[in-house]
Symmetry: C2
Subunit: 486 residues, 2 copies
């Protein structure tokens, strides 16, 4: 049987139960086809970073394109005995009819701005809540984390080695895809190469070394089979006393006579800073200054930064569990909130979710985002969330202001603007072509390069401006003042 | 198209690339059919807990039963141009022939004891490394975390609500299964109900409340459709001034006249301790002392414990991201290491992995585990890891000792013993029948009840004894002394 990539998988029933009870409820109340607008947005950047990276759109599209309820799904729902026949018939004949806008994969995104907008019959827009969040949350989390690690390595390659510690199968497969978008050079995960074209790499585990009578023999046997790009694992017994000397011996006695330059050694445990420096000297003195040292051992962006400060002689890193789970902050907290309902005359009634937890108050209305760039150097200056049909004239100065500390204003001149949300589905029809993975990865790298260094630092990054247009701010504040917080 | 549950999914290509290079290498070196023994074990209990819970065996079995390489898989591998034809033919005709032993799902497990053992041709045993780890690591992580949260709630129900923040699709679906084994009462995830029978529950989101002209109207409309077990979400605008009064009004004006008792209210934001106590008084005074209060808002075991210390009036909890990702410690660090190679005469040569990182040194040899229980009260006393064929006589005193601080000894009398590892596959044939999910859940609850309270506390739990038999300890120490650590 062929593996089912997410392209072919029907994940329609991956919904929260309440989405189905609500959908049935809307239909029973006769408002199932009211046009609603939902925003996906997030409130907090993982790891206290200055920006997040958006990913997962291709899989969201696959899901929406495959939305359909099987006969068994319908019978399962019928067996719950709380859904009406009309609703079950609706699901059995389900045809996706929503409009979807999204930012592109690889785009830097910020809290409290809509990164996906869904407009359509409430019964449909509600049903896709869980999968929209799940898909975007996961990949955005891993892309964001991978990019932190990639930046810490200052140009050295990062391979994603975390499948075995991923939170189940898709987390490994799609996590490797997300990590690649964030700048990793490859993955250990073969399935991710098969399905998405993420380059799969890998050489040997300790078991290979243990299977032979001696470490030298294990290296020799490996090199005979894989003389090209030969990398050996040197920490099975003792890196300095055994692993590196045996590697050098094998390079001289096996690879060079075969006509191949060795590629590298890998250290997977112990004091990487100390061991890599010792190994570097040994390799250099043996005439192998071109042989690379790869390190792996529960690394993350902070350990890599620290290794480089210590002048560790590492040319590339393999990063596992801390990347694939974003261990230090493993949740991307995207939410999906009702923002507006369309009236019969085509106008919108904005909706807001109030909360005693101030951060949980939403931005109401059907919206869009403009990103402002400095016309001289291309750098991103600020995002402005506006009503959907607001137009910003990039020939005139534009004043942005902080939505909370409203006296903090800045008038922008000499800028270019770009609408970040682009149409993906129009009335259920896909109108967007997903770029190739390599192109997404390049776009991501370019967009990150347009952010100020102050936004990119790990400690206390500058908070990038995400402001509301004057019109939107007024609407929100009028709505807030209607509720009594006393 | 029908959704593919893990039962039907072919995940054969979910391997690390180095497993394939090694497998091809073993074959090319003529040692592909050497019988090797691999252990899966872990080194650290998540969250500094006193025990972990083993889960995922059913999915591991599904994977092993579906192991097969498709024509496209073979062609993909051929295109890498480093694998020999004989190896590709071997994969094309792959037939799983290993023996597998495992502890049962729901069993408390401890560091440095084998929880899965694979014995078979090295070429095969090596290939299943990633999936064995990935499958068991993920579900054991979530079951362990769920059980902590369940225990913190002291009998109050915990619903798993985390799908939207899970690390991709399987993490949501199988995470809900794992959480149920750990003691949760249900999940929001419909797919997990469909595929595994985890009870799916859920009522309404804020969007339901926002869709109607007033909060009261939203509650009324909901109750008309779902009068049974009716739970309303009271924090869309203001819990005390709006949500609870509207709920009480609806109970009186809609549910009671229809002949139904209301079931509950849910609070999803704000100060749960304060709000639940206020709401409790309001409900009691209105004659609804039987109406339950459910709380959800980024909860975990510590927050729940703290809420109960504050005497919060919460009857059940919905727990999302902190459970489904095991946020505070999102990695279950299971590893898969070569432990022995079988010789032609049937004996075993033990194998060890040395490391400058002491914790990374493995326990060599083909092994098994005995768990000792106090015969009088049934409580678990210790585990002893022995050679595979060692027999412990439960009629004689047995002395266990700490494998590092060897002077720490304890002679056990009045005990019963149980072998934890049971046969799952024999020469590739499944010989184990997976229990029903409900039975796994009950078994788990029972086994946890047999642990001392000191092992179960969150802070500085007692370290449960996992000792090596005298024979095994001697073999390990002889091997260690052969290597020079100077």
């Amino acid at each position: 049987m062929e593996f089912q990539g997410s392209k072919d998988r029907n994940l329609t029933m991956l919904v929260d139960f309440y989405e189905i009870t609500m959908a049935n409820g809307y239909l029973e109340q006769g408002i199932g086809d009211r046009i609603a607008v939902f925003d996906m947005f997030f409130r907090k950047i993982p790891d206290g970073g200055g920006f997040a990276l958006f990913a997962g759109l291709e899989q969201l599209i696959d899901y929406l394109n495959n939305l359909s309820f099987t006969h068994d799904d319908i019978e399962y729902l019928r067996s719950r005995k709380i859904f009406c026949d009309e609703f079950l018939d609706y699901l059995a004949n389900f045809k996706f009819e929503c409009d979807v806008w999204s930012v592109q994969e690889g785009t830097p995104v910020f809290p409290n701005e809509p990164i996906v907008i869904v407009r359509g019959p409430i019964i449909q827009a509600q049903l896709i809540e869980t999968m929209t969040l799940l898909t975007i949350n996961h990949q955005s989390l891993v892309t964001t984390k991978a990019n932190r690690i990639v930046r810490a390595a200052q140009g050295r390659g990062i391979s994603e080695f975390g499948s075995r510690r991923a939170q189940s199968y898709d987390a490994a497969i799609l996590g490797a895809r997300a990590a690649y978008i964030g700048g990793c050079t490859g993955t250990a995960c073969v399935m991710s190469d098969r399905l998405y074209g993420v380059p799969a790499v890998g050489t040997m585990a300790h078991s290979w070394v243990q299977m032979f009578d001696s470490e030298y023999d294990a290296f020799k046997k490996y090199a005979e089979i894989y003389p090209e790009n030969c990398i050996v694992l040197v920490d099975t017994y003792n890196v300095i006393k055994s692993g590196v000397p045996n590697a050098i011996k094998m390079f001289n006695e096996v690879l060079l006579p075969m006509g191949y330059r060795p590629k590298g050694i890998r250290i997977d445990s112990g004091d990487i800073a100390y061991l890599s420096k010792k190994a570097r000297v040994m390799l250099d003195e043996a005439g192998f200054s071109d042989v690379e040292i790869c390190a792996s051992n529960s690394l993350d962006e902070y350990l890599i930064r620290d290794l480089l400060i210590q002048d560790a002689k590492v040319d590339s890193f393999g990063v596992g569990e801390n990347l694939i789970t974003s261990k230090s902050d493993p949740v991307f907290g995207g939410v999906y909130k009702l923002a507006a309902i369309q009236n019969d005359d085509g106008s919108y009634t904005p909706k807001i979710k109030i909360s005693e937890t101030i951060e949980k108050i939403t931005n109401p209305h059907f919206k869009t985002i403009y990103r402002f760039y400095n016309k001289s150097n291309g750098q991103a200056i600020a995002d402005c969330v506006t009503l959907f049909d607001e137009v910003i004239d990039d020939n005139k100065p534009y004043t942005i202001f902080d939505p909370v500390a409203t006296w903090k204003k800045k008038t922008l001149t000499n800028f270019t603007i770009r609408k970040l949300l682009i149409p993906i589905f129009e009335k259920g029809k896909l109108v967007y072509e997903c770029p190739a993975l390599e192109d997404i990865r390049s776009y991501c790298e370019e967009q990150v390069s347009l952010l100020w260094d102050e936004v990119k630092r790990f400690e206390f990054p500058h908070r990038y401006y995400v402001d509301l247009s004057d019109k939107l701010w007024k609407i929100k504040n009028e709505m807030l003042s209607k509720y009594n917080f006393g």
